[in-house]
């Protein structure tokens, strides 16, 4: 984009100039997201309020924390990164989220919901202790306002005796429309106009100075409101409630904000979204089984559950961005004989780690976790890579951990799950190759021998991407005159001990799309301990994996196909 608007230019600008810039920024965001993918609707809704923030405050001396962080594009454009904006979400380019390592204007990294107020309070408290006086702003969407972390932070406002500005960007949407009691309060305030005492009491009781509802898409209004808010900050924390339109200025986004929350740059025809498979299978299973309920934390569409929600509204629960509550709800329904399926992204399930242990597995309850976006997800970066799940799941007693190798196997696992009476986690990537429609019965803890060879080398791999890599390597090897066995480790827990014991090969190679520590490789190492195997594990190194193209990242962070092939050849030569 041609614009490179700096703080000084903004501060001197007229309202007319600001409005013009907002339109330019909006056009730039639409253009870039069309090419690079990314979060569209939420950024379009937040243009004016971000411009007004930059006009009113002095970043980076003042600090802004973006909740989730997906709505920070305008901020990036206004803080010296416009010239690199076309590299958004590309390897080595700008992150789609705030990154301290990228700019001094980004003071706190985010990616998951609900952290911004806690972070702002911590920054403000440190400021007070150091005797400094800058302002701290937390920009929070109404979806995050359902999250428990926000409440914990609100609760501690009176303990911490400091001041922050909460800018509540209320567009009525999480990724799905926002739901729940707090949302209804916000909605009532918006409908009735501001300053209905009973409603805003919710916020004043936490010690906040509430500032009524402003039009967040009117840049002049926003500048005025922020000026007042900045003044009020001198006497304590302020909640500035702003109403915006998600997808503002883009006809399709305005009409379908839930489908344009995240936009992918391209689609391929031979691919299938695992989410749509989940939706179809679960709806079919539920037709014949009234125990089945589906639970999601504000991601009905992205997890493929729209159809289920429409077909069985009484058995479908979107509880908002409340990953922990959703887990306990599932556990409790299971105690009463229901069969809950909880669909969630891999990294977001980290939020319910304790509930997985304490509520679901501690009571050995038949809750099925459908864990989407596992492995390296790519362009969203560190906070969204699902590379820890095999490790944090396998350490939990009573939990079966399944890893489908393709669409058909995923369907098989879901059908199997219906009558499985204990905790089950099925983890899968966003998309894979279309299946052949051949769905075979799956038995808990049984691996599959995909290719059997009399050579002394075996690859044990789990999941679609590692197994596809193994099969590619096999074709290459066969061309070079050697061969190896390929085992599909469908279950990380329990392992197929009989099959592992029967494998005659001396050289065992494991491949997985997870960090090395605590994953499949470790489980295989442990099983073969002192059993005379020569093992090599390919998994991701002990590092956070940034944004980029998934395949390239996998290579760079430890699953390097050339190195695997080199090693296989070496094993073959050693014989």
């Amino acid at each position: 984009m041609a614009i490179e608007i700096n703080g000084e230019a903004l501060k001197a600008a007229s309202s007319l100039q600001l409005k013009k810039w907002c339109e330019e920024i909006r056009a730039e965001i639409c253009e870039t997201v069309a090419v690079c993918g990314g979060h569209l609707s939420s950024n379009l809704g937040a243009v004016e309020l971000t411009v007004a923030l930059h006009k009113t405050f002095d970043f980076p001396n003042d600090k802004i924390v973006f909740d989730v962080g997906h709505q920070c594009y305008t901020h990036k454009l206004l803080s010296g990164r416009a010239d690199r904006f076309h590299t958004l979400r590309r390897e080595g380019g700008l992150s789609g989220f705030p990154k301290r390592t990228e700019s001094e204007y980004d003071c706190y990294d985010t990616g998951h919901a609900g952290t911004a107020l806690s972070a702002a309070l911590g920054i403000a408290k440190a400021r007070d202790l150091k005797g400094e006086t800058f302002s701290v702003v937390a920009l929070i969407g109404d979806g995050s306002f359902n999250n428990g972390l926000i409440y914990e932070a609100l609760n501690s406002l009176k303990i911490l005796h400091t001041s922050v500005l909460i800018l509540l960007n209320d567009n009525g949407m999480s990724i799905s429309p926002t739901v729940g009691g707090v949302h209804e309060v916000l909605d009532e305030i918006k409908t009735e106009g501001s300053f209905c005492r009973n409603d805003i009491a919710l916020f004043e009781q936490f010690g906040l100075q509430y500032m009524g509802v402003y039009d967040g898409n009117d840049v002049e209004d926003m500048c005025d409101a922020l000026k007042i808010a900045k003044e009020k900050l001198k006497s304590g924390s302020v909640l500035l409630h702003v109403s915006t339109q998600k997808g503002r200025g883009h006809p399709f986004c305005e009409s379908a904000p839930d489908r344009t929350h995240g936009v992918s740059p391209k689609q391929e025809d031979d691919r299938v979204e695992y989410a749509s498979v989940l939706g179809g299978e679960l709806t079919a299973l539920a037709e014949g089984d009234r125990r089945i309920v589906a639970v999601t934390a504000a991601m009905t569409d992205s997890l493929g559950l729209r159809g289920f929600f429409e077909r069985f509204p009484e058995r479908a629960f979107d509880v908002g961005i409340c990953e922990e509550h959703a887990s306990v709800l599932c556990a409790a329904m299971a105690t009463e004989g229901m069969k809950p399926y909880y669909a969630i992204y891999s990294t977001f399930l980290q939020r319910a780690f304790d509930e997985l242990i304490h509520d679901v597995c501690g009571q050995n309850l038949p809750v099925t976790f459908c864990i989407d976006r596992s492995g390296i997800t790519g362009a969203d970066g560190e906070t969204h890579q699902g590379v820890f799940d095999l490790s944090y799941l396998s350490l939990i007693p009573n939990l079966t951990v399944a890893i489908p190798k393709d669409e058909d196997e995923f369907r098989g696992m879901l059908r199997m799950s219906k009558d499985y009476n204990a905790p089950l986690a099925i983890r899968y990537p966003r998309a894979g190759k279309k299946g052949k429609g051949c769905v075979l019965p799956i038995e808990i803890g049984k691996f599959e021998l995909i290719h059997s060879s009399i050579s002394d080398i075996a690859i044990i791999a789990a999941g679609e991407i590692p197994l596809a890599a193994a099969e590619n390597l096999l074709r290459r090897a066969q061309k070079e005159g050697f061969d190896f066995t390929i085992v599909n480790a469908r279950f990380l827990k329990p392992l197929d001990e009989a099959l592992l014991l029967s494998l005659p090969q001396k050289y065992v190679v494991t491949i997985e799309d997870n960090v090395a520590i605590g994953g499949l490789g470790d489980a295989i190492d442990r099983f073969y301990l002192n059993r005379g195997k020569v093992i090599r594990n390919f998994a991701y190194r002990d590092e956070f994996i940034p944004h980029g193209e998934a395949g390239a990242l996998a290579e760079r962070f430890g699953v390097e196909k050339e190195e695997i092939f080199r090693y296989l050849k070496e094993c073959y030569a050693r014989g």
Copy 2:
């Protein structure tokens, strides 16, 4: 106790009889806790309201979920378990928490704070779907009302369209006095009398029918209130706010409820509480370093921080039972140059697993986690055994994981931590042997050779209890004419690769007080992969560990000293 009060007897009883029974129950609890240890004050405060619940509702047809669950003693006495109450918290005896496997009167297992309302809602929703009509009660202390999970559940009341009774047992205390905005609201309601519209709006906005403040220690009052509440349940969820006195009826408990929350049966003179070591060291460090702040989630005393809080009130933060918020607060303060120490129990840190990854380690911030009650803690059972931490910590990039072998080493690690500029976790048990006062400098990632032997056997162990076991085994071995090397694996991450590479021994035995999956043994296995070692790992099996005596449980669940010794002898014989 002589009483075996059943539901029918209760229902027919006069007020006078109920009061008499309450006193008998109170005496029984005091007597049993004096012998078995356990939660005293909170149970003494909840006697009358529990008796009234059993008089009003028909358990086990109606359901009650206890938040945390530590206050369930009266419930156990009234539900056919009085004759076994003297076995409380003993191996094979009654659990100190609700246990579905123990009685049909216990419908949901708890142990950690904040789950009860989500659980009650799940049970109620399942009831509705099944077309049943029983009542569901969640008994929740005011401490838990700070927790984010409660808020997530409150927020979903309007989504779930069901009815539960929340009995809010407000005694003004968590383990420490309750703090924060919500507590102030509750306090205001109590002080001003009930039905102050502005205050109770907080609850009504979530869709609750609020019933003003009742005296929870007056059994007659409680019966009347519950009768009304039961009626109101027909038209939706009810919040019955009850004021009780923690430690009621026990002079010392009444005056010091924070010190009598959990009571241990005995103390030994040569033992030291790690918490008191933490408190002393941290206060001393903070004298010379203004960056140091201490954070706790409602456990100032049990974590040894009282002295710090008194000496540096402006740098000490108790944010209530908000483990997640506390973590983010630490991360944020660290971004501004502060040096936060977050003290927490091992199992409670599971609640902040995502924040550990996303906020602290993802940004590589110098937050120090002081993780108390690691390993098998014993009498509190499944939900309190700190046996997963080595696994869930070691999988996180950027995190250094330290395991002190004794008091002196713990002091050394704390002193070292002051200038360590990255995330650090120090995990330790509740108590250990007193140190010798010889505090040596600790270097990150350096192990210690405790005993060097020319034999072909080495034990690598981490932490006080495993190392004490190793040293005991060494004395026994020496009597039988053989010897082995002992290595103190002070750091699970990073490993001391130089020392491990230099170890000449063929036979390597690891001992740890953690589950096998993902712990020290796995790390050593991975390091020595294909290096010709014969390794055996002693760690806990992949099971939840119930309540009992810590040493006996360790033996039973995988760290069996006789078996280790037998194996060592076998290695010696194989030579």
